[in-house]
Symmetry: D2
Subunit: 311 residues, 4 copies
């Protein structure tokens, strides 16, 4: 794969996406998110050598929302190791991102760390007795370190918007609390959760932050290790089976890469050994995943032969 | 990977498995299956060059059961193409292999082709107006062609045993029929289903039959194409997200390969570009997947660096 | 209550119903039932003295369908006593008459004897090793005895229609069989079930057959005892809480009498100590209960002050 | 029924209950409730003439908990009339008192006013823009008026205990809020809900408060009308079908009276036209209803022939 070829493919795909009429629906359940320009589109691919191929709105920060769950999972595994899995499963849920039914049938243990309930449980593990402010600082420093960019910040308006209207997440958290699955005061855990979901990043920053997952836990440019190789593989596995809520099977089928979407319209996708990829298009499909983001990634893996299921 | 190295790893793993006291429980819900020797263990790996590494009971035929669903899915996609997906989804189910709850909530459309209901719907598509006997012949010829072995056969005792006692599958089929999801007489569809699940194959035959999935749809030894490259990738994707029922997340997390298990204790696993793998150990875990089979595959991918999530 | 007054109220209500434009939808899932005239309407009230007030199509036989479940419950309690309750519960189901979800969550034990699954389990208890033909004869003789009319018969066309198309009931029965809840061959149990649901009776016959429930288990005209007083009360209690599927609360709220409906459009209602009532109007509401039947009964209890909840 | 006979039956039953070893388990999920003496037992029957038959701890106030839901339903129907039923159904739920599953399947509308979610929705209707303190005052005045006793009060320790630990109710309320089913701030609605559940009353006070339901909406001693006759009947109907959570069918089957239980161990039962009855025994059965309370009521209706299903 030459740099020129990668640049060309990325640029072509961005052009094609710009011309498509179908864009999905911008998330409206968090009022602040509904304000974003539905025509935005960004795509960034960073290969193993560190070459950065960009197209579209690659420098515009957007709300990463659930993509943050990949990084809080990474932190929680660092803190609690396999004990984390007493609090959250790692199976696809077979239901919507904010379903509560499964919790009732499985005594408050969320199915995986990427549905809302699971990510709240993961946040609770990271919090473990500390002050929300401290922990939030830690998460933000981690994101800045990974993105190699100290300008990564929380969008307080989005966090406040969700804190005012996030009744379903409040329900999920209290429900888990009633089963003893959360250790900290519900308000503390949710405060941290709403804020880390409100981190704003550009495609470039996000793709940079995901590089350790593409390269066995290390940033190949700096050589710094973030997690052991096995853990990187396993996080990728959870992304593949659970990263797109009830559209995870579809994403695996069409794109063939581990990935994690957010309702802000971003997707982080990992081509193991090859590249870290971030795409952003705010319109969502019925499962709550970026509509054009998924289509762009499908085109990308097809043209570059990057599917993990056969190349 | 030298042949000697592969042979050594396969042989070591078989030795280690033989010494483990934990073997899981042999399936008893199909009376005929309960008779198998719980100490049986076979492992076969066939690499891209066609080298066959074997260990243990690699030539003993066992009931492939749900592993047959990979091949009926392949046949059905060949016959119906993407129209197949009107009858069955491709998302993980989040429930047990024989659950009926999801069908009621989703108007009789099974979640994916690898849970029982989904595989029955796939069988119905293959049947499409033909006589059960003809279609069963076609499936058997396909398996013999893929395994390159005309001795592959149906174990009629197992088929009869399931036909007598498979009330839950009869319930699933009639339930789908009530929603108009099945076209053929229920008895016809179930007859074919029970019989293709009762195909008996050895690890060697099974690993041989899976080779096209490891190599973009072609058998690399004969050069014969079975399916287009894209279809091979996609079948692998469905295997990864749905191949182990409600233990699919766990299998992806630990083994990191697309795979399909059967309650006979077999697992077919695919290392894209590298190898087709079959393992057999009759004792099952709580999700109905081969207990030692999964552990053996985990050891194998770790030692050979074959995980699709980073190598 | 004078006879003249009762005659007048019954006649008025029949007139009012005849003029209403809203009639609900005639059941179409059993093809044979769809042929009935949607304008039919019959109402019969038999008071404690044996006076029979009639209006409309009171002598036309219709398919009693699920109303037969009251009588098979009576027979099964006579045969098995409280042991019956090991096979079936007596709680409202909170779901549709043909739901299978509850069975999966409660290990194949149906919630109550009046949902389809429960009535199939009750039929299995009555069958208990006998031949379907004998048991069907026994049920029919019981109905003729209660109705004091030897002309009561099974509509074989309806039975055959359901046997050909009753996939959902076949699913329910096989599902219970898989949990060991049914003792007899599924075909036997379903054969009897489909046939007793296909009994055809007129409103007059049905109201006559229900008299023992209104009068502590005895027919007050003949003095013959059918069940002990306690059992009559308890059957009435199950009718009140479970007799109208997921519209049972609504029926209790509006009508205030124990009652059992059938998809043929009939309802048998019991005013304890006062009367046995049968109404028939084939159009159904969303819960599968006779639309005008329920409205007629609401008018009747209001005008006569017969609600069991305060008079 | 002579007064002497009623007094004797009430006294006999209390004696029998005192000697039984089986008492059920005192509710522990509200810490403050767990402190009550499990041996307490009270029974009060007030007949149509106003005669009060008492036995056991008839004057000891206990936490009425969910029994308060009968009275908030009465208030809400007075305020909103049939519009109330847009926010809550009136069908048995087929699930536990605190289940959230049904809410997800039915878009946040609780099944009936007597499960927790339903009672929270009813409380929200009563609140409708007013201050929690005012509304709580109104509820308390209503209870004092009905009980004809100004000493009825809220047990603040119980209210505080539930406010600290009632995570499941907080979850239910926020869940409904996310569907727009609640109008007021969740904290307001829950504040009122927790407090009215924490009203403490003796059996005597409770039986007095329930008299209007036994007598077509009027207190027969004072002649004061509380609700129209039809409404009294309908509240009784909802009590019968939904008053004992997932044990409502059982209560109807065994006792044969409309009734409402609370986890404090109290039950209010209504014999229409005959009596208002309150019983208290803190130990609960598996469905969360008073174990001995139900048994005592079963004995009472049997001996007095008060079942609404035939006398």
């Amino acid at each position: 794969m030459s740099r020129a070829n990668l640049d060309r493919v990325v640029s072509e795909i961005a052009d094609e996406m710009r011309q498509r009429p179908d864009r999905g629906e911008v998330a409206s359940y968090i009022p602040e998110l509904a304000r974003v320009d539905s025509k935005s589109f960004g795509l960034v691919v960073i290969d193993a050598e560190g070459h950065v191929a960009v197209a579209g709105d690659s420098e515009t920060p957007f709300s990463i929302q659930s993509i943050s769950k990949v990084f809080t999972l990474t932190l929680a595994l660092g803190k609690a190791g396999d004990r984390l899995w007493r609090r959250v499963g790692r199976e696809p849920s077979g239901s919507a991102f904010n379903s509560i039914v499964q919790l009732e049938h499985e005594r408050g243990i969320p199915r995986n760390p990427f549905i809302n309930a699971g990510a709240i449980a993961v946040t609770d593990v990271i919090l473990s007795g500390h002050q929300p402010r401290e922990v939030l600082g830690e998460i933000l420093r981690f994101m800045r370190f990974l993105a190699d960019d100290s300008s990564v910040a929380i969008d307080e308006a989005v966090a406040a918007s969700e804190q005012r209207t996030g009744f379903r997440n409040i329900a999920l958290a209290n429900y888990m609390k009633s089963f003893g699955v959360l250790d900290n005061p519900v308000d503390f855990t949710l405060g941290v959760y709403f804020h880390h979901c409100a981190i704003a990043m550009s495609c470039r920053q996000l793709a940079m932050a995901g590089r350790f997952l593409a390269h066995l836990g290390r940033n190949p440019s700096t050589g710094l290790s973030v997690v052991p190789p096995e853990r990187a593989r396993r996080i990728n596995a959870v992304m593949l089976t659970c990263g797109h809520y009830d559209g995870s099977g579809e994403f695996a089928y069409r794109v063939g890469l581990p990935g994690k979407s957010g309702v802000g319209g971003g997707i982080l996708a990992i081509a193991p050994g090859k590249a870290s990829i971030a795409v952003w298009s705010p319109g969502l499909d019925a499962s709550g995943n970026s509509h054009l983001g998924r289509i762009a990634l499908e085109a990308l893996t097809k043209r570059l032969g990057w599917s993990i299921f056969g190349a």
